[in-house]
């Protein structure tokens, strides 16, 4: 049961910066749900996109360093909110099973990694280890009247043989969580389409186009807000929403929440500890919609 859930926690670099509100709300929600998070001491960057595009061994070593630290903690499961960190950690987990790769990567590490650590997303343990019933039971302020669509991004579940979680084309974990919290969840057809990711830096037009389509689809559905689970997706849709409006001649005004923020609201926490003030598009209209039975 949920009383004995203990995990090593990997915040990831975004969690300490651009997606601070994701980290804050994740920690707050876990505390409320009785999930014990122990930060990995002296954790370091997973390598992110630059490492694996340049050198697989280096990328593997950067992530394996963190897995090795989890080993030192005598824990077997590490969780992280960020799907991009998760991809790197999981890929390293897989690659380190190969003898050649393990030898090469361990040469770069102070302490060799032996294997045996599993990494999961916070989302996965909420759905699989805690369970939706426990979540329902702890809900004190149901999200009734709030119309949301869940947007997973392209790497939370893909490639399926690495991520091993939910359906790669039609994931339902966040949809189910939102339904359990009492929100009205509309099926989002583009839930695993790419937002443009890091192209925001070299080719802004790509993000304008792709994220623009996502916001168009969300507006077509008539949702009050989108819920995300990925710092980069959230940033492209939230921080760049006004840029997208200028570039695509649109008038989107859609709050982009992290799913943990809405969970926090449903669990009765205050907006400040959930970092609501860090969102760019004002969440006010969506938060006000909660409890309005205007359906």
């Amino acid at each position: 049961m949920s009383d004995s859930l203990k995990f090593a926690y990997y915040p990831g670099c975004s969690g300490t910066g651009t997606s601070m509100e994701y980290d804050m709300s994740t920690r707050a929600v876990c505390r409320e749900l009785g999930i014990t998070l122990t930060d990995i001491p002296d954790w370091s960057c997973c390598g992110s996109t630059p490492a694996h595009t340049v050198d697989h061994t280096l990328s593997c070593a950067l992530s394996a360093r963190n897995l090795q630290l989890v080993e030192n903690m005598k824990m077997d499961t590490a969780i992280t909110p960020c799907p991009s960190c998760l991809t790197n950690l999981k890929t390293a987990e897989r690659r380190m099973k190969d003898d050649d790769m393990r030898d090469k990567a361990n040469k770069l590490l102070d302490n060799p990694y032996k294997g045996g650590v599993t990494t999961k997303s916070v989302l996965q343990i909420l759905v699989e280890d805690l369970g939706l019933d426990a979540l329902k039971n702890k809900t004190v302020r149901p999200l009734k009247g709030l119309k949301v669509a869940a947007y997973y991004g392209c790497i939370m579940n893909r490639p399926p043989e690495v991520m091993n979680f939910d359906d790669p084309e039609h994931p339902m974990a966040m949809d189910n969580i939102m339904t359990a919290l009492g929100a009205t969840v509309l099926p989002f057809p583009l839930k695993v389409e790419c937002c443009g990711a890091s192209f925001g830096i070299p080719r802004k037009d790509v993000v304008m186009n792709l994220s623009g389509k996502l916001l168009d689809a969300a507006d077509d559905l008539g949702v009050d807000a989108l819920v995300t689970a990925c710092p980069l997706c959230q940033m492209n849709l939230d921080l760049r929403q006004s840029q997208i409006n200028s570039a695509t001649d649109a008038k989107h005004n859609i709050p982009i929440f992290y799913y943990t923020q809405l969970m926090g609201l449903a669990l009765g926490m205050n907006e400040k500890e959930l970092g609501m003030n860090k969102l760019c598009v004002s969440p006010r209209k969506a938060i006000n919609a909660i409890g309005s039975e205007n359906k």
């Binding site: 790669p168 084309e169 039609h170 057809p189 583009l190 389409e193 689809a217 077509d220």
Partner: protein
């Protein structure tokens, strides 16, 4: 024994990487060998004549041919020996093609290996004994499993040839997949008009016994004398009384039963006759949806049935048929298209399969021949066809081409235009595969006369937007991404082996490939035979096939059965186990390991002994290797013969 050795060049197949003359020269030194030569093509007429001449000239009483695999030509050379007056089992074959020349390029090593293989063959031959077949009677009755178009064709051809035919069909009516089709390519003629009369012929043919709604439970026996147990599934309707009038269907209040005949496009009644032309035209109750069977309420069909045929207490029944040959014609089923999450199959109601579309087009289908979107019943204007769904895609474990989807997609795009003149069809394809008489012309017609827009590329995603479906894909000829607003999306779903095909294969003791399709005896020369004597194949159970090819195979399988039954008796294979009664200690180990139940225990002067039932033994040799006393010996593969080969190759 005087042995002659013939080393075949097989053109350059063997001679290219083996010095056959050197192999023949080495063979002359082997014990028993009195004559050895190399020959251009041992299997050709002059080649075989050369063997016969050498037998006569050198008084040979045993022959080794070093050439290709015995699976190819062992029967050929055995016949050659018989023509020369020798026993066919005084022959050995050394495979120096598939096992040597085709797999290595090193001429010296190949030549050495060939010499060793010939040495083994000659050593075994010295220990060979003449063996003689026995003749036995056969039951000249044939069973066809599967009542699709291939099975129907095989049944009618066999029956017209005077044989008694038992046709077993899993569903409640024969007709198979073809009965579900609206039209057929490339003639666009009506499928049920072509097939319907043939189905009636089956029903009316005096030589055909039809067991519909039945499955093969167990197969025992051997070629010429199979004993097949058939499970007649409970239909809860007494078919002897049912006239197929259909009143029960009209009155049945439970209208939510699954409708497999209409590919689950709609729902049907709990008591049901699948389609108007059904043969036999008999009703079947689906116990999962019948109120009487679930809650003991209703009973309307029993009240309205004019012939009092309803029997809610009916049970499955096992009957036994004795036949001499079996033709498997179990056809194919559709790949589970829902694994393609990106196409939204099973998720969006307006994404349907090609076979569902076929039912939609059919006048006897749920929408009476009108194309209607399942979601809102509207007539679609833009119809997108996605090809290769579960074909030519390694990522879903289906690397093979299903062969007929290109053609039926072209046909469906033509029919779409016929039904809805102001519609536009789009076809996303990888390649167009239309090798067949008038096939490619047909696909051109779909494009040129009917204006179907063919886009070469895969679809990455189908998603709903308002009441449209957006189909996003690539046009690889333009090198660009395309998006089409579709009202209806039709997935050209590929074929896979029929559900339960592998279970049937195990019962029939035939092999199947990695995808569950039955293995033919030889890909070129035995396309409708299997490696189990007396079991033949027809239609798509052997691999995806269109109607003409399935019908041709149905006739081919019938021809094979007829030619087998044209003999008075069959010859048994003498390569079976025999028990040396003096050595047998009656431990029974062989009895328990024999997979065919071919060994029984007998009482011999108060001692238990094993005895082989000749007609059932398949010559697999498991008993031979099991027997602790060496009392069971497999003829033509005795311990002494095998050990002679081992000694020949382990000389150092």
């Amino acid at each position: 024994m005087k042995i002659g050795v013939f080393v075949c060049h097989c053109g350059t197949n063997i001679e290219g990487t083996v010095d056959t003359a050197a192999v023949a020269a080495a063979a002359r030194e082997f014990p028993g060998v009195v004559f050895a030569t190399d020959t251009m093509y041992a299997c050709s007429e002059p080649g075989q004549d050369g063997i016969i001449e050498a037998i006569k000239e050198h008084n040979l009483d045993g022959v080794v041919v070093a050439s290709c695999t015995p699976r190819m030509h062992e029967p050929t050379f055995r016949k050659t020996l018989e023509r020369a007056g020798l026993n066919r089992y005084l022959f050995e074959m050394a495979n120096i093609r598939e096992h040597v020349s085709w797999i290595g390029k090193d001429r010296e090593a190949n030549t050495n290996k060939s010499v060793d293989l010939v040495r083994m063959a000659a050593a075994k031959l010295l220990n060979n004994k003449p063996l003689f077949s026995k003749s036995f009677d056969m039951n000249k009755k044939v069973m066809i499993v599967g009542g699709g178009v291939a099975g129907i064709q095989a049944a009618l051809d066999c029956a017209d040839g005077g044989l008694q035919v038992v046709l077993v069909e899993k569903t409640s009516s024969i007709g198979g997949k073809m009965a579900k089709l609206d039209k057929t390519f490339p003639t666009v003629d009506c499928s049920s008009c072509v097939l319907g009369p043939r189905m009636v012929d089956v029903a009316q043919h005096p030589n055909i016994t039809l067991h519909a709604y039945s499955e093969i439970e167990e197969v025992n026996g051997y070629v010429g004398n199979f004993e097949v147990k058939i499970k007649k599934k409970a239909s809860y309707v007494n078919w002897d009384l049912c006239t197929g009038c259909g009143i029960c269907m009209e009155k049945c209040p439970s209208k939510k039963a699954a409708d497999p005949f209409n590919e689950e496009l709609g729902k049907t009644t709990a008591i049901n006759i699948p389609f108007p032309q059904a043969i036999p035209k008999k009703a079947v109750i689906d116990p999962d949806f019948c109120m009487k069977m679930i809650k003991d309420k209703c009973g309307v069909c029993a009240k309205v049935c004019p012939s009092e045929a309803i029997d809610y207490t009916q049970k499955d029944e096992i009957i036994t048929e004795e036949v001499g040959a079996v033709v498997a014609a179990t056809g194919f089923d559709l790949f589970d298209w829902t694994v393609y999450g990106e196409y939204g199959g099973g998720k969006y109601p307006d994404v349907i399969t090609s076979l569902q579309y076929e039912r939609m087009l059919s006048a006897s289908g749920p929408s009476e021949g009108h194309i209607k979107r399942p979601s809102d019943g509207k007539e679609p204007k833009n119809v997108v066809f996605i090809q290769c769904v579960g074909s030519r895609d390694k990522s879903v474990g289906r690397p093979y081409c299903s062969g007929f989807c290109c053609m039926y997609t072209a046909k469906q795009s033509i029919l779409t235009k016929d039904h809805i003149p102001d519609s536009q069809s789009y076809v996303f394809y990888m390649d167009i595969r239309a090798p067949g008489k008038m096939y490619d012309e047909f696909t051109r017609r779909a494009m040129e006369e009917y204006g179907a827009r063919y886009i070469r590329g895969r679809v990455s995603m189908v998603y709903p937007k308002g009441d449209k479906l957006i189909v996003r894909g690539a046009d690889t000829l333009m090198g660009d991404q395309v998006e089409v607003d579709a009202d209806l999306v039709v997935l050209a779903v590929g074929a896979e082996a029929s559900i339960g095909a592998t279970d049937l294969a195990k019962k029939l003791r035939i092999s199947y490939d990695a995808y569950g399709f039955f293995m033919e005896g030889h890909p070129k020369l035995k396309p409708v035979e299997t490696n189990t004597a007396g079991v033949f194949l027809a239609g798509a159970c052997q691999g995806p096939k269109d109607i003409p090819a399935s019908v041709a195979q149905g006739s081919a399988a019938a021809a094979k059965v007829l030619s087998m039954f044209a003999k008075d008796q069959l010859e048994s294979d003498p390569q079976i186990s025999v028990v040396d009664i003096k050595r047998c200690i009656g431990c029974g180990k062989c009895i328990s390991t024999c997979p065919f139940g071919a060994i029984k225990e007998i009482d011999f002067r108060g001692q238990p002994k094993a005895e082989v039932i000749e007609t059932i033994c398949q010559g697999c040799g498991i008993c031979t290797s099991t027997c602790p006393q060496g009392a069971v010996q497999l003829q033509h593969f005795t311990d002494n013969q095998i050990l002679a080969e081992v000694n020949a190759i382990c000389r150092f």
